[in-house]
């Protein structure tokens, strides 16, 4: 079916192709509410998996044709589709009492919206959606303590052309032929960690902290008892578990099954039974 769609695109106008993707996104957006059924939200996630696959196929076609503007346009679709899917999964995970996983999906959705608006001017409206997601962050989740890792490296290379970043024409964060330019650090070493107000990646945060009864989760407020050998001493230094660094820069591109893990099978079988 997927190949068929790309093949059919030869008979479709560019406007019709855009309509196809916009319709798929719009349909899924109807389910971006807490009250919607988790099963229906899962179905939309799966539909978006397919839509994202199609956007990637179209992008590769445009790359093959050397059409950079169109390739970046489909990169924008990949980001926008991924953002909506992450937001849907945030709601599903919240309803399954999984706030930490839901938080990661909220952040993934915010990153997807920002990247979509960076990918192509046709996705400038995604910036407004990011504003809505930031409001959701303030209203649904308690305030988090963010962490930023600093490191030093000997040399920077460009992810687009492989040359030294200082010697090429590509700029970090800009799209080139359907790909974002990233800096590749050579021989990186840890330098410092700091608490920050506005991190680049909100997944990097204090996850839980020590109390007399165990580690208290910053989102659920549940306490996990200490393992053998772990203990809490009144008046001792503040100790916490932190998520220091996330290596996946594009979390919104992960498939529904990968994100939901074991929850995916449970939801899917329930949906099939229904």
């Amino acid at each position: 079916m997927n190949d068929t769609l790309v093949e059919q695109s030869g008979k479709m106008t560019f406007e019709q192709v855009i309509d196809f993707f916009n319709t798929g996104i719009k349909q899924a957006e109807t389910f971006l509410f807490l009250t919607r059924s988790s099963q229906l939200q899962l179905e939309q996630c799966l539909a978006l998996d397919l839509l994202l696959y199609n956007a990637t196929c179209f992008k590769h076609e445009e790359i093959h044709r050397g059409e950079e503007n169109n390739a970046n346009f489909f990169l924008g679709f990949e980001c926008a589709i991924g953002a909506v899917r992450s937001e849907l999964m945030m709601w599903i995970l919240l309803k399954r009492d999984m706030p930490n996983e839901a938080w990661d999906q909220l952040v993934a959705a915010q990153m997807g919206c920002l990247d979509a608006s960076r990918a192509h001017r046709g996705f400038a409206h995604c910036d407004q959606r990011r504003g809505v997601l930031e409001q959701l962050e303030d209203k649904i989740f308690p305030k988090q303590v963010f962490v930023s890792a600093g490191f030093v490296s000997d040399r920077l290379d460009c992810s687009i052309c492989g040359k030294r970043y200082s010697q090429c024409e590509h700029l970090r964060g800009k799209p080139y032929m359907g790909q974002f330019c990233e800096v590749i650090h050579r021989n990186p070493r840890g330098d410092h960690a700091a608490f920050v107000e506005a991190p680049e990646d909100k997944r990097c945060r204090v996850v839980s902290f020590k109390t007399k009864d165990g580690y208290q989760d910053k989102l659920s407020w549940e306490t996990t008892p200490y393992n053998e050998g772990e203990f809490y001493k009144e008046g001792d230094k503040f100790e916490a578990k932190i998520h220091l660094l996330s290596l996946d820069r594009y979390p919104y591109l992960a498939s529904t099954e990968k994100v939901l893990g074991t929850e995916f099978s449970a939801l899917k079988s329930k949906s099939e039974l229904g």
Partner: protein, 162 residues
């Protein structure tokens, strides 16, 4: 938003101590030149290279004080903030080309607009060091919204006239 002006060490003396030629024109300096005790300790922000590319693309000449294989290590900090480089400019260059700094800052601002769009939490920081005819140096440190960067050009110009 904050813009701070402070005295800075003599760039020419410090670089001479490290056996490095003093730049004559616009240059990108390590961010910890004042405190580093040896060349090995020098650090530059990752975005120094972004600014080098922006200058190259826009055909704005600048001077490299270290060759390609001896660049100071790169410091990467992760925040929703753009950690810009330390730019060096002499009053001589400013009198020959009074607009070079405002053009450079304008180019950086445009790039940052594309990166952050209109996010209210976005922040940029950057240092500019101006060397005056008597060799003394002043540093202007900016930290605030990306679109405010452009406002430091007239401050630097004024410091050059003092």
């Amino acid at each position: 938003m904050s813009t701070e002006v402070r005295d800075y060490i003599s760039i020419s003396e410090k670089l001479k101590d490290f056996g490095v030629t003093v730049p004559n024109g616009l240059a990108i300096l390590p961010s910890n030149l004042a405190t580093a005790k040896s060349v090995d300790e020098l650090r530059q922000h990752v975005e120094s290279d972004t600014v080098r590319t922006l200058l190259n693309i826009n055909k704005i000449p600048y001077v490299e004080i270290f060759d390609e294989d001896n660049q100071p290590s790169y410091l990467q900090q992760y925040g929703f903030e753009w950690f810009g480089p330390t730019l060096f400019i002499s009053t001589g260059l400013l009198s020959q080309n009074p607009n070079v700094l405002s053009i450079t800052l304008g180019i950086i601002t445009n790039y940052l607009y594309d990166m952050f769009k209109e996010d209210k939490n976005s922040k940029a920081s950057l240092d500019i060091i101006i060397q005056r005819p008597d060799g003394s140096c002043k540093e202007v440190h900016y930290s605030g919204p990306p679109d405010g960067l452009i406002n430091i050009a007239p401050i630097v110009k004024e410091l050059g006239r003092e």
